[in-house]
């Protein structure tokens, strides 16, 4: 059973520049959305800092800086991967986003793969035997808040 989402788009620039704009200028292109708010106070200004091992953060208007995820792979012009754990989402129950940049003629295909919750416990299985109750409870917490967000958006 899969829990991955794959979305791709072509942009009229080189892979190197697409990577640069994607990472360095994310605060400029990211569109905040009520439906998918990353923190309870909106998305703030997103930033990738520190390359591999670094962080993806959201800086709120009041100056607070919240971590959205950590950077797993940083290969300029090729590949970017980061964990995706917005604050409503417990750090242990992470999802992962992989972004590929590939030249297609004069353009670049940017492919986002978002691997969902179901892929993650497999790691817990190999490391710790079975996912423990706490891990499952955290996953459930995330979903609960996710759905509360949806309900808020839908006005329910």
């Amino acid at each position: 059973m899969t829990s991955s989402v794959l979305v791709a788009i072509r942009v009229p620039t080189s892979p190197a520049r697409a990577f640069d704009v994607f990472t360095r200028e994310i605060a400029a292109w990211w569109q905040p959305s009520d439906l998918f708010a990353l923190t309870s106070e909106g998305d703030g200004a997103l930033a990738f800092t520190g390359g591999e091992g670094g962080r993806l953060t959201a800086t709120l208007p009041d100056g607070r800086c919240l971590e959205i995820g950590t950077i797993l792979s940083w290969q300029p012009g090729m590949h970017l991967a980061f964990t995706w754990c917005p604050p409503a989402f417990d750090i242990d129950q992470r999802t992962e986003v992989h972004v590929r940049f590939e030249a297609v003629g004069n353009e670049t295909r940017v492919t986002v793969e978002h691997h969902g919750w179901a892929e993650i416990p497999r790691e817990h299985v190999s490391r710790h035997g079975f996912p423990d109750a706490a891990t499952l409870a955290r996953a459930a917490d995330w979903w609960r808040s996710e759905l509360q967000g949806l309900r808020r958006h839908l006005g329910g």
Binding site: I9, R10, T13, V21, G116, L147
Partner: protein, 119 residues
């Protein structure tokens, strides 16, 4: 069970790889416990535990066959994967929206760059 509790159970149930494999099988067709155990190479007691969890989560239901009351057949309950589908749909919408925004930004930044080059 309210919606949040139902979700809790669904995600707890699907967090285990063997249980996801059971769901995969049952998505195609209903099966007896024996068939499932054979296909997945699980012992009867191990499978029985997983089926119990899957039934409690509301993902799977059990029925007895007409021709042999001893054989129980398991099938996927209608609508039981709604929450997962919703996550997939929402996540796809999120990234479709963000990549469109990214493209629009690249195009506008490109345009700016070209303007800068010309001047």
């Amino acid at each position: 069970m309210n919606a949040a509790e139902r979700l809790d159970r669904t995600f707890a149930a699907l967090a285990e790889p063997n249980r996801r494999a059971v769901i995969e099988l049952l998505r195609r067709q209903p099966m007896s416990a024996g068939e499932i155990a054979n296909r997945l190479g699980l012992s009867a007691p191990a499978l029985s535990k997983h089926l119990k969890t899957l039934r409690a989560s509301g993902l799977v239901e059990e029925a007895r066959t007409d021709f042999d009351a001893r054989v129980r057949v398991y099938s996927l309950r209608n609508g039981s994967l709604k929450a997962l589908r919703r996550w997939l749909e929402d996540t796809e919408r999120l990234w479709s929206m963000q990549l469109s925004a990214f493209k629009a930004y690249v195009e506008s930044a490109d345009a700016n760059q070209k303007e800068a080059d010309r001047s």
